[in-house]
């Protein structure tokens, strides 16, 4: 019973940790990008201030909007938050880690996107439709790419449970594999596209014909916008955590580790997030945005890489 209590506490800590760190991560990326452009940039805590400011404002809703428009932000946020809470950030084997595996986490993110795309169509403006339709097109390539990456990871670790995968990656049994390299590249491409970062989409622009995510949420304001913004910050954190926990599992507290190990794991996790955020900032600064219809090629490359990796595993199984 005490174990259950401790486990519950750690599960809650994880949920609060991801939601607390997400705006900081976004702030860090923005700050780093600004510094790389020799601007001073907003303070690190600016995203928190933005969220609070937005949440306090009244929400302006279009006349033609339906009830769906007003509940979508909360649904999107909930699905993303649950998905983020299920990723082993600092410890594996958290209390509810078995309630959804990696495929379910991807599907949860798919559900969030499904509803956000619907919200883009809800008001009946051309910008919203534009965002939704492009988002849907990206998703049709990013989701299968993600699933074939899962095939690779699941076959290497013998499980689709993210906790088990991470624990296996942390053990010495794994070694260097070609498939893992392919999966890593593919996963990074998918993560860049899913979070609408440069070169796929530019999170900093408005009123640009190539925008995707911003076009979908154009009609949102006030607290609704705050919740959606928080959800997209969470999504960035989620993808970085996913990459970090699978490909750099050092310092991750394996299931049944003591409280000290878990705290240490949390510290290491924050450092890893920071490094990943800086890498993202450098990557985004050093590359130009691509045309919308180049993105399918970019994502198609991820799909092919992931598929080749999985195929390699399927075929090499018999050689053992």
């Amino acid at each position: 019973m005490i174990d259950l209590g401790v486990d519950l506490v750690f599960q809650l800590v994880q949920m609060i940790l991801v939601i607390g760190l997400a705006p900081l991560l976004t702030g860090l990326v923005r700050k780093a990008k600004a510094r790389l452009l020799r601007r001073r940039g907003p303070p690190l805590i600016q995203p928190y201030l933005d969220l609070v400011r937005l949440a306090r404002k009244e929400a302006v809703v279009a006349h033609s909007a339906s009830w769906l428009f007003r509940i979508v932000p909360y649904l999107v946020f909930a699905a993303t938050w649950i998905a983020a809470a299920l990723i082993p950030t600092f410890a594996t084997g958290l209390l509810f880690s078995w309630s959804a595996d990696l495929i379910a986490i991807i599907a949860l993110l798919g559900a969030a996107r499904f509803f956000l795309a619907l919200a883009g169509l809800d008001v009946g403006t051309s910008f919203g439709g534009l965002g939704s339709s492009r988002e849907a097109m990206f998703a049709t390539l990013a989701e299968p790419a993600m699933i074939v990456i899962v095939f690779s990871l699941a076959l290497i670790a013998g499980s689709t449970q993210l906790s088990t995968v991470a624990a296996f990656m942390a053990s010495s049994a794994v070694g260097v594999r070609v498939t893992l390299g392919m999966a890593l590249v593919a996963l990074i491409i998918v993560a860049v596209a899913e979070n609408g970062r440069i070169p796929v989409d530019n999170p900093a622009t408005h009123l640009e014909l190539t925008m995707v995510h911003e076009a979908m949420i154009l009609e949102y304001s006030g607290r609704h916008l705050a919740v959606i913004e928080l959800a997209s910050m969470l999504k960035l954190l989620l993808y970085i955590s996913l990459i970090v926990c699978v490909f750099t599992p050092w310092g991750l507290a394996i299931a049944d580790a003591g409280v000290g190990d878990r705290l240490l794991g949390a510290g290491i996790y924050v450092v890893k997030l920071g490094i990943a955020g800086l890498v993202l900032a450098v990557f985004e600064t050093s590359i130009a945005k691509m045309r919308v219809f180049r993105v399918p090629d970019f994502l198609g490359a991820a799909l092919m890489l992931g598929f080749l990796g999985a195929l390699l595993l399927f075929v090499s199984r018999s050689l053992k």
Partner: protein, 670 residues
């Protein structure tokens, strides 16, 4: 009284009801009577089937002295039949209940009512038949009854062609099944399924039987490239019949395939699964790509049936592969995934057709280009359709996700298969499955978003009103079931255990005893999923966020004109349409799948004529397979046309020549 007698009694009553319906069809409350009685009879059969399945009763058999004199009509109720009887009659009961409301808007009830109970009875009899004769007679009866329903509104443009293509494809399918059963029965004429099960077929013949079964059952189910009739015929029928044809009749076809491939044909050969898996993967992706190009709601749904049949056949193909290599537990997982998807698809597809039927009665439109903004005017229908769209897009925690998740788990077991062909094919099929799931989500964003969201595009959509209470109840029940199967899948997986163990010799581990009602296909360290917890987490955190923000921050809402970057256009024609929504996907996938070409005709500056965008897409399967066949048949019939205008002497010599040739062949036959 045994369950089998009860089921057959209900089917006899349905047939009788069909005769009564010819009399009462024009009566004032004739529709109510027919649909009410069909609802009652289907409900009884649903209970009978579910009772037999869940109670794990031994198979029941019955021989009636009708049909062929020396074998009679054999009927049998085993776990497989019982499962499909339950799925079928759940859909039938809901469709009949829905018909109580929807049927009132029918202009020609005498064209629908007599055939409706007959259609239900025929489908039931296919499931219960235990000899080739009874099976084929019921199968043909099912085809003809549904053909009559497709032709109910034969004056509407396109419906005649739909009926024509349907009857040709149905005849082709029946012919293939006839040949398959003939080969199974062998020269001794062992037409009962019991004798076929006991008989041994040589591997070569077995392969031909399997291909014929795929062609016969596949043409009814909508396997690409035999799917062409389905998107024409399903939309042509009244909506509750469309729901039955898409949600249920395709499942009867799946039953036919499962019965032959897993039960009658004996141990499978591994390469059969290559064929089934390839067809399944191609069907899934092509079905959804076709669906994305549609703007007619019912046709879009019909193409999605094609997609889901592909997903079901992927599960069945994997089960065949595992069974061939004596891996019964993996085969059990794959077969459970396929059969659970059979059930799930019958739920959400019926639900969606009910919803579209409600839209059709309320607005008279099923073209998305003339709809929009219906969620504000039909909130309940909109909500239920949204549940159906989320379920068919395989979003957790609804039911569609569970069966696709199980299929993925089965795919992840396939590296253990010792065959190279399968090792390369299965991951490809897995990628196709993932692709089709993602495309399906895009397609239902389009279908729901353009129809129910945005602003009304026409006056008809503007004046739409909520539909009747019968339709809403039918939709509510199915939407609830979509959620229940999604959050408590273990119950349904366990209910499938007797079916699966009878067909592949093993079952999935018992699910209901597992902690927190999770489902664990193999071992918890490998994979587990808990729809109930995911559902509770989503509800809890969404409400937590909503309450916290409303309490702590702001809960003021101001209604204002749309922002749209400062230039909102009052004309609803400026919204995205179904075609413009699908345009990016068409540019990515349509170029090779449909040879899609867009041509922009932009007038020079100063020129007053309007700019035009012309998009051409081609149905390559129709052009590559069907048009040549149509051409050959046409050419042959023109040649043979001369035979109609011979003199009597010439006819006599033709008859004489034919007789001599036949006798010669008979004499030369070894």
């Amino acid at each position: 009284m045994s369950a089998l007698v009860l089921l057959l009694g209900c089917d006899a009553a349905l047939l009788a009801l069909s005769l009564v319906a010819t009399v009462v069809a024009r009566a004032k409350r004739g529709g109510d009577f027919v649909y009410g009685a069909a609802f009652a009879l289907s409900s009884v059969q649903l209970v009978g089937g579910a009772y037999h399945l869940i109670g794990r009763h031994a198979p029941l058999a019955l021989v009636l002295p009708i049909g062929l004199p020396w074998i009679g009509a054999n009927f049998r109720l085993d776990a497989l039949s019982a499962f499909f009887v339950a799925v079928l009659n759940l859909g039938a009961a809901a469709a009949s209940f829905y018909g109580l409301g929807y049927g009132r808007h029918e202009r020609d009830p005498e064209r629908v009512l007599p055939f409706y109970p007959a259609f239900l009875a025929a489908m039931n009899l296919v499931l219960l038949a235990d000899d080739a004769y009874a099976f084929l007679v019921s199968w043909e009866f099912m085809s003809l009854a549904s053909w009559a329903l497709v032709m109910a509104h034969h004056r509407e443009p396109g419906n005649l062609r739909a009926g024509y293509v349907y009857i040709v494809m149905a005849s082709f399918g029946a012919l293939a099944l006839l040949l398959a059963f003939a080969l199974l029965a062998g020269p001794a004429g062992a037409y009962t399924f019991g004798a076929m099960r006991a008989g041994v077929v040589t591997p070569g013949l077995a392969a031909i039987v399997l291909l014929l079964a795929l062609a016969g059952a596949g043409s009814k189910a909508g396997i690409v490239p035999l799917h062409v009739w389905l998107p024409l015929a399903h939309p042509a029928a009244p909506s509750h019949v469309s729901a039955l044809m898409s949600g249920v009749m395709t499942k009867v076809a799946v039953y036919g395939f499962v019965r032959i491939a897993f039960d009658l044909l004996g141990p499978p050969v591994w390469w059969w699964s290559l064929v089934v898996l390839t067809l399944g993967g191609v069907t899934a992706v092509m079905g959804v790509l076709y669906a994305l190009m549609q703007h007619d709601l019912k046709r879009l749904l019909a193409y999605h049936t094609v997609e889901n049949i592909g997903i079901i056949f992927i599960g069945l193909g994997l089960a065949l592969a595992f069974k061939a290599f004596a891996m019964p537990s993996a085969a059990a997982l794959a077969l459970t995934a396929g059969l659970l998807h059979v059930f799930n698809h019958s739920l959400f597809k019926s639900l969606l057709f009910f919803g579209v039927g409600a839209v059709l009665t309320s607005t008279g439109e099923r073209d998305m280009a003339h709809l929009g903004g219906l969620l504000n005017r039909m909130p309940a229908t909109g909500f239920f359709v949204l549940v159906g769209c989320a379920a068919i897009s395989a979003l957790p925690p609804l039911n569609g996700f569970v069966s696709e998740w199980l299929t993925f788990q089965a795919i992840l077991l396939s590296p253990m298969l010792p065959s190279w062909g399968l090792k390369i094919l299965v991951p490809a099929v897995g990628a196709l499955l993932a692709l089709s799931a993602a495309l399906a989500a895009a397609c239902f964003v389009k279908a729901f978003g353009i129809t129910f969201l945005g602003r009304a595009r026409t006056g008809a959509a503007e004046r739409a009103a909520e539909t009747d209470v019968f339709s809403l109840t039918a939709m509510a029940v199915f939407a609830t079931l979509c959620l229940i199967v999604g959050i408590l899948p273990g119950l349904f997986i366990d209910a499938l255990a007797p079916v699966v163990s009878a067909l592949v010799g093993d079952r999935m581990p018992m699910q209901t005893g597992i902690q927190w009602l999770s489902i664990v296909p193999i071992a918890e360290s490998r994979s587990s999923y808990n729809g109930l917890l995911v559902f509770l987490f989503i509800v809890a955190s969404a409400s937590l966020a909503a309450v916290a923000i409303h309490r702590l921050a702001s809960n003021v809402v101001r209604r204002a004109p749309a922002w749209d970057c400062g230039f909102p256009d009052a004309n609803p024609a400026t919204q995205y349409t179904a075609d413009s929504f699908a345009e990016p996907i068409r540019r990515v996938f349509g170029v090779f799948a449909f040879r899609a070409r867009a041509r922009v005709d932009m007038p020079a500056p100063g020129d007053m004529r309007p700019a035009r965008l012309k998009v051409a897409i081609y149905d390559l399967i129709w052009e590559a397979i069907y048009l040549p066949i149509v051409g050959i048949v046409g050419a042959i019939s023109i040649r043979l046309n001369r035979l109609q205008f011979l003199t009597i002497r010439q006819y006599l010599s033709v008859v004489f020549g034919a007789l001599v040739t036949l006798l010669l062949v008979l004499a030369a036959w070894p």
